[in-house]
């Protein structure tokens, strides 16, 4: 067995909604190890987005314990979660979410803006990160001058720049054509070889097949957890 990066024990999330409550997660137990690449799947409303928000420390669970790299992070303050996201987690979104007015390089530098290394160090590491996704020759382009696939590569470089333990990708190929999507999946797949845990939230079966382990959610509970 590997080293656990994420351990969910009885994670629950209840939203109040117009007087009623909605149970998005109803007690989820998972262990995800270092270097694993897994897909979280399920129909809409199954709780996969909520699970990603909690795993990515954008949200806190209503109940249960979440341990990230062995540390209980279930009830951290907003600022502590921000710091943790900054240092241990990288996000990749369906809509790329690059800052439109900033160059590719500046977008990759963004997470380091809040970690405060000096400017030359920042630039060097952002360039290295762009190198990992083969985008260094587009460093000074604005997002609108890049294709969708290129923008997603820049977004992945941004997620990688602070050496995270975990990358969370929310439908990373959703806005891309099949061929470009496959390229992005290959890139994400190659990351686990570097010991980075990659979690992909998707409802695309092809994306699901391209990773080794799939967790299928239904109505806030794990329906299947399949490997292979």
């Amino acid at each position: 067995m590997g080293i656990p990066v994420i351990r969910f024990t009885g994670i629950k999330k209840i939203y109040p909604m117009e007087g009623e409550t909605v149970e998005a997660l109803r007690g989820v137990d998972i262990v995800i190890n270092k270097g694993e690449s897994i897909a979280i799947m399920g129909p809409s409303g199954s709780g996969k987005s909520t699970m990603m928000h909690i795993a990515g420390l954008l949200d806190t669970p209503t109940g249960g314990v979440y341990e990230l790299e062995g540390k209980d992070v279930s009830s951290l303050t907003r600022d502590k979660r921000a710091l943790m996201r900054n240092q241990r987690i990288g996000f990749v979104f369906q809509g790329f979410n690059l800052l439109a007015r900033c160059s590719a390089l500046e977008n990759v530098e963004l997470p380091m803006l809040y970690r405060r290394p000096g400017v030359p160090e920042r630039r060097k590491r952002a360039m290295q990160s762009l190198g990992l996704v083969e985008m260094e020759n587009r460093a000074f382009h604005l997002p609108r001058q890049l294709s969708g696939g290129q923008q997603q590569r820049v977004a992945i470089a941004r997620a990688l720049v602070n050496d995270p333990a975990l990358i969370l990708a929310d439908e990373p190929t959703g806005n891309l054509d099949t061929r470009t999507g496959r390229g992005i999946m290959d890139l994400l797949g190659s990351l686990h070889e570097k010991g980075i845990t990659v979690i992909i939230v998707t409802h695309d079966p092809e994306v699901g097949r391209s990773v080794r382990r799939r967790i299928i959610l239904r109505d806030g509970l794990i329906e299947r957890d399949e490997v292979g």
Binding site: L58, A82, L98, L99, Y114
Partner: protein, 410 residues
């Protein structure tokens, strides 16, 4: 330090992305700060100008007015009751050690005629020491001398404005004959121009004649020996209040005023005039500056408005920044920096505008308008404060956003 630079750079970039909008928003601050600086500067300039006019009345001067009449509870103004006399003036000079020079003045309106021209003005009977008390030099000729007083000579000294109205420019006034209320007088001197007094009256619209000639030829036999005003100068500036005390004591004694009874005269020092003018101008300046400050607040509200729009428009950007690890404080600082940058840059331009407008007003009015460093410093600090105050609410709104909601924002 480097962090600060990054924050400022980011703010400037944020503002440059919407140049027209930022400029228009800054305009509110530019006008507000400009107005504050103009009002402070002009207020001070006007005050300086008035203080100079007061000093212009005469060095270390005191003025004694006769008291007011009281008939059935109706009180007249200063000088309505004839209580001061030539003898009082002589006694002050004789018995008050803090007093340097004394002159008495009695005035009435009269019609002046010189050749084809005529002019109506106030004619005053006085004595030689008047020009010393008032510190009033002559342009040409001489002032009333002791022998003119003794022999009640029909001689006159003209103020600048009177000479201008009675004679052609370049015409020699000294030596000419004029008629005052049909009595012939000879012009012996022309006073230097003194300008207007603190109340705005033209001090140069006067004619002086020996008081003896005034009493006999102009005034007739009414109230012999009575004078309207006694002007006197203290030995030094420090002795002004001492002189005032001495004169009051002497006149109470001479006028037989019982202890506790009301004086039938009033002694005014120039300091009192100065303090009065200072107070008036101070109130004016505060009033005008408050109005200007209101426009600054309106400018601040403009900043708040635009920042709120900007925060809403950039919700997704805020979400992205939070997702990659921006803390509440980081987002707060970013938006505060934009608001403060706008207000401070606006403040700097406003300062230039204010200095320019003040100088222009100085040229038009002829006042010396001082641009004080403290006014500029105050304006800059104030504009930064406006940025902080009005930028806080939008920035806090941005920093409190839920990152999940913000990322979903279309």
């Amino acid at each position: 330090m480097e962090m600060l630079l990054t924050v400022i750079r980011l703010a400037v970039r944020g503002l440059l992305a919407y140049k027209a909008r930022s400029l228009l928003t800054m305009l509110g601050i530019i006008i507000g700060i400009g107005a504050v600086i103009v009002m402070i500067s002009v207020g001070r300039g006007a005050n300086d100008s008035i203080q100079q006019q007061i000093n212009n009345l005469g060095a270390n001067m005191l003025i004694v007015y006769s008291g007011s009449t009281k008939k059935g509870g109706v009180r007249g103004g200063y000088g309505s009751k004839p209580t001061l006399s030539v003898k009082d003036a002589e006694a002050i000079l004789r018995e008050c050690p803090a007093v340097l020079e004394v002159a008495h003045v009695t005035s009435q309106n009269a019609q002046l005629v010189a050749g084809e021209k005529n002019w109506s003005t106030s004619v005053s009977g006085t004595i030689p020491s008047y020009s010393l008390v008032r510190d009033w030099p002559l342009k040409t000729g001489e002032f009333i001398a002791e022998h003119h007083v003794r022999s009640a000579s029909s001689v006159a000294v003209l103020g600048h404005s009177v000479a201008e109205n009675l004679f052609e420019p370049g015409e020699m006034a000294v030596g000419q004959k004029i008629r005052i209320n049909n009595m012939p007088f000879r012009v012996i001197g022309l006073l230097a121009a003194k300008g207007s007094d603190p109340r705005g009256r033209d001090q140069d619209d006067v004619v002086f004649v020996p008081y003896t000639a005034f009493s006999r030829k102009l005034r007739g036999s009414r109230l012999p020996g009575v004078v309207h005003v006694i002007c006197l100068s203290a030995q030094t500036k420090l002795l002004v209040s001492e002189a005032k005390r001495e004169v009051e004591e002497l006149l109470r004694q001479r006028h037989r005023i019982k202890p506790g009874a009301e004086d039938d005269f009033t002694v005014r020092t120039l300091d009192e005039f100065a303090a009065m003018a200072d107070k008036t101008m101070g109130i004016m300046t505060i009033l005008l500056t408050s109005v200007a400050a209101v426009s600054l607040i309106v400018g601040g509200i403009g900043i708040m408005n635009i920042m709120l729009v900007s925060v809403t428009e950039r919700t997704r950007e805020i979400g992205i920044r939070m997702a990659v690890g921006a803390r509440e404080g980081d987002v707060l600082i970013q938006f505060m920096a934009e608001a403060v940058t706008m207000s401070v840059v606006g403040g700097i331009f406003g300062t230039f505008l204010g200095i320019g407008a003040s100088s222009l007003i100085g040229i038009v009015t002829g006042w010396m308008i001082p641009i004080h460093v403290d006014a500029i410093l105050l304006a800059t600090l104030f504009s930064a404060a406006v940025g902080v105050f009005f930028g806080f609410y939008p920035a806090r709104k941005a920093s409190r956003m839920d990152p999940i909601e913000a990322l979903r924002y279309e």
